[in-house]
């Protein structure tokens, strides 16, 4: 069963819509599974597209120079938590 919070579900929809993951539904994403490589199997170009979608929806820019990038994208839960802490809209 899905145990996603409303924000996690919203971010899940953003991922599925932005990246056209036609064989994935947002509610089926496991909150703690990795988004890259295993799990959803996203790549670095997907990260760029996702960063753009996140800046449009939540009004802040992602950065990788703080070494947190791997953690931010480690799971849907981590990404949603990062968004919750940085969003300005």
């Amino acid at each position: 069963m899905s145990e996603l919070t409303p924000l996690e579900l919203e971010v899940g929809h953003l991922i599925v819509d932005t990246l056209n993951l036609e064989d994935v539904s947002a509610a089926d994403i496991e909150a703690d599974a990795p988004l890259f490589r295993e799990g959803l199997g996203l790549d670095s170009i997907d990260a760029l597209e996702l960063a753009l979608a996140i800046s449009r929806h939540y009004g802040f820019q992602l950065r990788s120079d703080d070494e947190n990038n791997a953690r931010i994208f480690s799971s849907l839960r981590a990404l949603a938590a990062h968004i919750a802490g940085h969003r300005v809209k």
Binding site: L21, D23, G41, E49, Q61, L62, R63
Partner: protein, 447 residues
């Protein structure tokens, strides 16, 4: 015996700043001393894979290997199986990394900025016949194909680039790049270009638009940005306030004239596209907004016969066949198409034959086909796989494929089917495959 001709390692003067690393200026004298100290510490071998991601550490490792007479091995991607294949093909070789990779079953040497100096004066020149790098492309039969790059040819190619971009006007400027240095474009334009043309290297590798904006803002101008269509588009779309940039170089995939115009407006400078391949390095450029014709570098001669085009130049050994079909005109050339086995996704080139082989090599996979979808978008499409493997799940197939593949080539989606629509001669007509995909996408349940 003839005298061995030596060519300088760098055109920078001793006290000039050669790089910015971690917010600190590094002079050429410091850099050469660090490279010499690293060279002295390296294991003995004929070659080593240079996997460093930090651009300054890559430059240090590259130079230390040159000083030691070891060739830089540059694999087509970082997938562990691919790196292991390259190491296995050169017995005794090892990997230079900026942090240890647990998944990599080869000898690793972690590169850090050396604290002390090597003994004696650092080497400042390299024999022109020395093998500097072996760059690999994915071959159609499975094994990565090596391309040998000698120091003299790399240096002469850079001289042609310097002429083309009128670089004396940018002396003292800084080069910032988003592309990795482990392929020919990255090596030429983010390592050799600053090393041999008097530009200072930004030692990091900014990824997100905001990273790049900060990197550009942190360095003195004139600024040169080396990037790809994917990154350029992301930066333009981010709508940030960019510091002044003097020149943008773009390559690895075609850039549309519309995207180039938007980038010129956002950054306030010309966007020059580079044409070349691993075999030749850069051989032509165009300002994308000015039209589709490419202008060859000075001294480059192109010939086409029976659909095969070749390039000759003073920085190439012999006539090199190109992967593209081109049409020659008095004022440049246009690209007509490319060898159909080669795909270019997110700026990375691979052979469909090789990728299909990797699928077929998985125990339990009986038949498989790959097709590129949405080729028109900036990333250059996405691979989709149709596989016959009655005993395996989709996830099991993807898990088996992952260690041997760059992430951009991972098929999405991957469908399992009972059989592929092969014709009597065993061929797989593209139209049939597309029809099958359409059916699968609608969920008609072929399996």
């Amino acid at each position: 015996m003839r005298d061995e001709a030596l060519l300088p390692l760098t055109s920078h003067g001793e006290q000039e700043i050669i790089a910015w690393h971690g917010g600190r200026a590094v002079t050429t004298a410091e850099f050469l001393a660090q490279a010499a100290a690293l060279a002295a510490a390296l294991p003995g071998a004929g070659q080593a894979v240079n996997l460093c991601e930090d651009r300054y550490l890559f430059l240090l490792a590259f130079t230390a290997l040159l000083m030691r007479g070891q060739a830089n091995l540059l694999p087509p991607n970082r997938a562990p199986r691919v790196v292991e294949e390259v190491v296995a093909a050169y017995p005794g070789s090892y990997c230079l990394v900026d942090r240890p990779h647990g998944a990599l079953a080869v000898q690793q040497f972690t590169v850090a900025v050396p604290a002390g100096q090597g003994e004696g004066a650092p080497i400042r020149a390299i024999p022109e016949d020395q093998l500097a790098a072996i760059i690999f492309t994915s071959g159609s039969t499975g094994a990565p194909r090596p391309h040998h790059k000698y120091w003299g040819e790399l240096v002469r190619g850079m001289e042609r680039g310097r002429e083309r971009f009128v670089l004396h006007a940018l002396q003292g400027g800084t080069l910032v790049a988003t592309v990795p240095p482990q392929h020919m474009y990255g090596l030429e334009f983010t390592i050799l270009f600053p090393l041999l043309n008097g530009l200072t290297l930004h030692g990091g590798r900014p990824f997100y638009p905001e990273d790049l904006r900060r990197a550009l803002a942190d360095v003195p101008g004139p600024r040169v940005l080396v990037t790809t269509p994917v990154h350029l588009r992301a930066c333009v779309a981010a709508g940030l306030a960019w510091p002044p940039v003097a020149l943008i170089l773009c390559a690895t995939a075609p850039l549309s004239a519309a995207a180039a115009a938007e980038a010129e407006a956002a950054f306030g400078c010309p966007v020059q596209e580079i044409y070349g391949c691993t075999e030749t390095g850069a051989i032509a450029t165009r300002r994308t907004v000015a039209g589709p014709r490419w202008q060859p570098y000075g001294g480059v001669r192109l010939h086409c016969n029976d659909g095969v085009c070749r390039a000759e130049a003073d920085f190439l050994r012999g006539a090199v066949p190109l992967n593209d079909v081109i049409e020659l005109h008095a004022d440049g050339f246009v690209l007509l198409g490319r060898d159909s086995d080669m795909v270019n996704i997110a700026g990375k080139r691979a052979s469909l034959g090789d990728l299909t082989h990797r699928l077929l090599d998985i125990p339990g996979v009986e038949d498989a086909a790959l097709i590129v979808q949405d080729e028109g978008n900036e990333r250059g499409g996405r691979l989709c796989a149709v596989v016959v493997a009655p005993q395996l799940t989709e996830q099991a197939i993807l898990d088996a494929l992952r260690p041997g593949l760059d992430a951009v080539f991972m098929p999405r989606p991957l469908y399992r089917v009972a059989r592929l629509p092969r014709n009597e001669s065993g061929k797989l007509p593209r139209a049939e495959l597309l029809a099958l995909l359409e059916q699968l996408r609608r969920g008609d349940g072929v399996q």
